[in-house]
Amino acid sequence: MIRVENLCIKQGAFSLQDISFSIPPGSYAVLMGRTGSGKTTLIESLCGLRAVHSGRILLDGRDVTGEPPAGRNIGYVPQDAAIFSTMTVRQNLEFALSVRRWTRERIGARVRELSALLGIGALLDQPARRLSGGEAQRVALGRALAFHPPLLLLDEPLSALDDDTRAATITLLQSVREHTGVTTLHITHNHEDAERLADLVFILSNGQVTKEIP
């Protein structure tokens, strides 16, 4: 689970004040807010890419507020997927595992598992730069899930997809949740996404998480 306590983030004139919320283990939370409300700023702070001014971030009871991104063990899928374009799909999926010095056998088994879950087995040896938007999102999701993170952060993963791909990706996210049970925080400004996926909905408005709908 993740618990955020009195988090303050300052970025020039913009600030997020006194943000507090928690997501129980295995839950799928959706954070909603208008464009420019600070959703991406908040998610970047959670995964350690942006410094926080004050407050605490607790992951499974461990205070990770001062930890670098690598030490937090959080799976992160940015809005643009940010696929490593010089690598193949397989190398993208293997990335976190090779950094962790897993054996070739363990890496191979995990890649097979992920490619089956995400339906990207046929893409494994393709150069990542040739992927479509939907394929790139699947690979980015697999790359983030590869090392069994306790928390998955998704930054508007559906925003750039056409209607058909969007529907397929929502089904995929439901399936991933069912199979992995990973605690997830998904950013969106789309109510339909929230209705279909969320156990919890948080609203970010005027620099604060102001509303929580159970």
Binding site: G48, A82, T86, V99, A140
Partner: protein, 273 residues
């Protein structure tokens, strides 16, 4: 009742386009004319005779060796400089950026003179106890590096600016530290920029003359590179040999230009030159 105005008929575009084409074409004609003049001035016989000269063969070897060395040194500096200036804000960044542009705008002779004076100072003299630079081959490399590196830095800065930092950020969430993200993600994505920077640095080094003349001298079979050969042959009235070496440099330059174009120089050159 409304009245409709008669359809507007703009003037034809061809006078404008012809005027622009005429002005731009004069430069193309000038360049082609220069190369054509060189080609018609000499004969294969003169060319073969010049290339058989031991002095010129030494000059070709030294040019290829020093240009390669200065290119490697330029990349060693330009890749970290471009990366740091593209990814981080730090005190004095604008000043550092401006300082690294100085060799691009300084007259070449001034660079040579400044190097010469630097190596007459206590620090320079101390360095020369270990590696002789003044009027020596390392001086040729340093003079080439002093100018070529500025172009390589500019190319690498543009390259890293064009690469989103998001990939490196994702790599850090996946377990890399900053160095791991650089080696595994940023540098492979910058490979075309690195090749472009290398070709630019090599081409600049090949054409460098002023700083080498002042700092490393123009001694035959010692610090003589191809531009020095052209200068020395001209000074003794051997124009055929000077033209033959010039043609050789044109061939090298065209080969480098072709490589640079293939690696995407067109995009990065917008800010470089």
């Amino acid at each position: 009742m409304s009245t409709s105005s008669p359809p507007h008929r703009p003037r034809a575009d061809w006078p404008f386009l012809c005027g622009m084409g005429l002005l731009a074409g004069t430069y193309v004609v000038l360049i082609v004319g220069m190369i054509w003049a060189d080609l018609t001035f000499t004969t294969p016989h003169f060319l073969a005779k010049a290339l058989a000269s031991p002095d010129i063969q030494f000059s070709i070897r030294l040019s290829l060796m020093t240009c390669t060395a200065s290119t490697v040194l330029s990349l060693l500096v330009a890749i970290p400089a471009g990366y740091l200036m593209s990814r981080f804000s730090f005190p004095g960044k604008k000043l550092a950026d401006a300082i690294m542009d100085i060799p691009i705008v300084l007259p070449p002779l001034v660079i040579g003179l400044s190097l010469l004076i630097l190596f007459q100072m206590p620090v320079g003299k101390a360095i020369e106890r270990f590696i002789p630079f003044t009027y020596a081959v390392p001086g040729v490399i340093l003079a080439q590096f002093a100018v070529a590196c500025a172009f390589a830095v500019r190319t690498m800065l543009v390259t890293f600016d064009q690469i989103s930092p998001r990939g490196e950020q994702v790599a850090m969430t996946l377990g890399c530290n900053r160095a791991g993200a650089f080696w595994r993600v940023a540098l492979p994505e910058a490979r075309r920029g690195v090749l472009t920077a290398a070709t630019l640095a090599w081409a600049r080094s090949l054409g460098e003359f002023g700083p080498i003349l002042v700092f490393a001298g123009a001694t035959r079979m010692r610090t003589e590179v191809l531009p020095t050969t052209v200068f020395l042959e001209l000074s003794v009235g051997n124009i055929e040999a000077a033209v033959a070496v010039s043609l050789l440099m044109i061939v090298f330059a065209l080969a480098v230009l072709t490589m640079a174009r293939a690696f995407g120089l067109r995009t990065s050159r917008e800010r470089v030159l």
